[in-house]
């Protein structure tokens, strides 16, 4: 136990924790959306995220930036991030939709039991991760350094780096957009209807197949965005990075109440903070234990997560 580190580093820990938490939250939203509609743990979502991370890497490569090139100026940096965000989001979204068509749709047509979906998801996860492993020769790939590490501004011990700021702004922006999309638009109403009662929604004229594809697309888009920020934060990526992030993000979704969009946001940020504080208290190699212990304890007292499950019931 090292309380000095925690107290002295508190501002830094909070900002890094929130930045990491935003990445968890973005991925967690993908789990929660699919779970809310299909009651299915989309085990392969972590690989969708990993594909987003590589899409960003390749985009930067095509634009002439690899891990050896110097840091671009601010305008170029923003352009690089923007293009990577768009490309990675679209790529991940595409992968997610293909995944749904190949691995889940045939099972839904046959009304397979839930376990069959889970195994199919595990199979898809193997295929995606190992295929990427074969393409990248299972090597760790370096990420070009794009944003400066110096703090942007500091006030009373609180500092924030450009990367953390961009991560917050984009992550929160994307999440509010999603919240609005699900709560206010026609498509969003379709999603909520299917989440509440798929068969009744279908009778009311909602195209169930399209709604499910849309849900996977949305989850994929968010995972792609998360992939870009993961790259920038981590400085490298590998074909198996999805696994750990996926587990963390799924835990975050459960923590907040799976199937609940705002729950995923709260759960993600909370998990990021808990990890950061926990790492300072007990040492960084205990991070994952702390995250899981918090999850276990919380589930003892609130068995359906912090905010409870509800994609269908409340206003998302």
């Amino acid at each position: 136990m090292n309380f000095d580190d925690l107290i002295q580093g508190f501002p830094d820990l909070t900002t890094t924790g929130l930045a990491q938490g935003s990445i968890y939250a973005l991925v967690a939203l993908g789990y929660t959306l699919v779970y809310g509609v299909l009651r299915l743990i989309n085990f392969a979502h972590s690989e969708v995220f990993m594909f987003g991370s590589f899409a960003a890497l390749w985009t930067w490569g095509i634009m002439g930036y690899d891990s050896n090139s110097g840091r671009p100026d601010l305008g170029m940096a923003l352009l690089l991030i923007l293009v990577a965000l768009v490309v990675a989001a679209l790529f991940s979204g595409g992968v997610a939709v293909v995944l749904e068509t190949v691995a889940y749709r045939p099972l839904r047509k046959r009304n397979a039991p839930p376990l069959a979906f889970l195994i199919s998801a595990i199979g898809a996860s193997f295929v995606l991760a190992e295929a990427m492993g074969a393409v990248t020769e299972r090597r760790q790939k370096g990420i070009p350094s794009i944003l400066p590490n110096e703090p942007l501004f500091s006030a009373g011990g609180w500092t924030i780096t450009p990367l953390q700021l961009t991560t917050f702004v984009v992550a929160l922006g994307v999440m509010f957009a999603l919240d609005w999309f699900v709560a206010k638009t026609r498509f969003g109403r379709g999603i909520r209807a299917v989440a509440q009662d798929a068969d009744t929604a279908a009778l009311m004229g909602v195209n169930k197949g399209r709604v499910i594809a849309l849900v996977f697309l949305l989850g994929g888009l968010l995972a792609g965005v998360a992939g870009v920020f993961f790259n920038l934060k981590q400085g490298n990526t590998r074909f198996n990075v999805g696994f750990l992030i996926g587990i963390k993000a799924f835990s975050a979704a459960v923590l907040g109440g799976i199937g609940n969009l705002r729950g995923a946001l709260v759960g993600g940020l909370l998990l990021g903070l808990v990890e950061a504080y926990g790492a300072a208290l007990f040492g960084s190699n205990w991070t994952n234990v702390i995250a899981f212990v918090v999850l276990l304890v919380l589930l003892m007292f609130r068995p359906t997560g912090l905010l409870g499950e509800s994609l269908g019931r409340a206003r998302a």
């Binding site: 099972l107 979906f117 195994i119 193997f126 074969a134 587990i247 459960v254 234990v289 276990l296 068995p303």
Partner: protein, 401 residues
């Protein structure tokens, strides 16, 4: 039964029904012959005399895993089959989704390692033990400890349902792995525990049966254990406990209302599953000689889960088939490359891609999982009762797309 279904049954092969129609003596004889066959599997000569065409050169044998020692592969299959049998009790009978089953395997393996290794800190630092214990004595302790950890995990968590239980069990396995990796007081972290004892026994010439050159005795040992465990599980499944499990799996609330003490029986399922997992771990530790945390990664738990569902949840035969396939298929795929002249790598847009079967074996295996789930969601060798339930389920829907 309508004429339609009878016709359908005639059309298929229905090996199961044909087998059951045989007289009892013939069935027993067939089973004995099959068991004998299982015992000769690691012998290389068996594959040479199978009568299957053997391609010249490269030393490839049909069904034999040329790239890795066959007896070792079979031993791995063996302890995965044990794990699958244990998880089958938890998932197949009681319907509890456990994503961290390898945690119990770790408990079993570490118990054996700590008690039998002369380098264990229990001896070198804490002086709790005078000298290392023999392997055989530690196995029951390992099983008991695994069972205890199953109860300890189950007690607070079994009130959770479905997917929440899944994430909690997953967290448990991860915690065990990370604790084993990080802490230095007993388990030695990443450095692990070396010189774990082997099972006892010597050949007539004085050399140990369970040595380090020939893996076959380990396979025979694990095969024998599997046969014993099958008897245990079969009897349990046909007893009051087994019926309670099925009732819980089908509808927990209804079972509770009919007077089944659901919590108690779920805890039993957890404990028995954990005990079998621990047994598997102790057998593995006896062969591996060295135990550290790297073995207990989460992927292994997932693989065991895949084994159970691939084979058919709730069926002993299915668990065995599944446990065998998840290890054997990837290993076998490694050795077929030599035969069919599969290229080792290709270039696409100037990118060098490694397409050797060794590299792609999990891609193929994953695709196989998807295909099997699409065409046989009940698993390859399903429990008859469950297969019937699933058939009803398929008929129920008119998919609205």
């Amino acid at each position: 039964m309508t004429t339609d279904t009878i016709k359908k049954q005639r059309r298929g092969l229905h090996l199961g029904n044909r087998f059951r129609a045989l007289p009892k003596s013939a069935r027993i004889a067939a089973l004995i012959a099959f068991v004998v066959l299982l015992y000769v599997l690691p012998v290389k000569g068996f594959y040479e005399n199978l009568g299957l065409p053997i391609p010249a050169g490269d030393g490839y044998l049909p069904l034999y895993t040329t790239r890795s020692d066959m007896a070792n592969v079979l031993f791995q299959c063996g302890y995965y089959i044990l794990l699958a049998l244990g998880l089958n009790v938890v998932l197949g009978y009681a319907g509890l989704l456990d994503l961290g089953f390898f945690g119990f395997f770790a408990v079993g393996a570490y118990t054996v390692a700590l008690l039998t290794s002369p380098d264990s800190k229990l001896i070198t630092e804490y002086n709790w033990l005078e000298s290392p214990w023999p392997w055989l004595v530690t196995v029951p302790i390992a099983v008991a400890l695994a069972m205890l950890s199953g109860v300890l995990l189950g007690w607070p968590t079994l009130r959770l349902r479905g997917d929440y239980l899944a994430i909690v069990t997953l967290g448990f396995a991860e915690i065990i792995r990370i604790v084993a990796k990080n802490q230095d007081w007993i388990l030695n972290g990443d450095r692990g525990i070396p010189s774990v004892a082997h099972p006892p026994g010597t050949w007539s010439d004085g050399s140990p049966i369970f040595g380090i050159i020939d893996w076959s005795p380990y396979y025979w040992l694990v095969l024998t254990v599997i046969i014993l465990v099958i008897f245990l599980i079969r009897n349990l499944a046909n007893s009051r406990v087994g019926r309670a499990w099925v009732a819980i799996r089908e509808d927990e609330d209804a079972a509770e209302l009919m007077g089944v003490s659901t919590f108690k029986f779920k805890l039993w399922a957890f404990a028995i599953g954990a005990a079998i997992g621990g047994l598997s771990g102790s057998l593995w530790a006896g062969q591996a000689n060295f135990v550290n945390s790297a073995t207990f990664s989460l992927e292994n738990s997932i693989l065991v889960l895949a084994a159970v569902v691939l084979g058919g949840a709730g069926s002993i035969g299915g668990a065995i088939l599944g446990g065998f396939l998840v290890i054997y298929v990837p290993e076998w795929l490694r050795s077929v490359g030599d035969v069919f002249g599969w290229p080792d790598s290709v270039e696409v847009f100037g990118v060098h891609i490694d397409v050797s079967p060794t590299s792609l074996r999990f891609v193929i295996f994953g695709a196989l999982l998807i295909v099997v789930m699409i065409y046989r969601p009940q698993g390859l060798w399903p429990n008859r009762r469950r297969a019937a339930e699933l058939k009803d389920r398929q008929k129920e829907v008119a998919p609205v797309e």
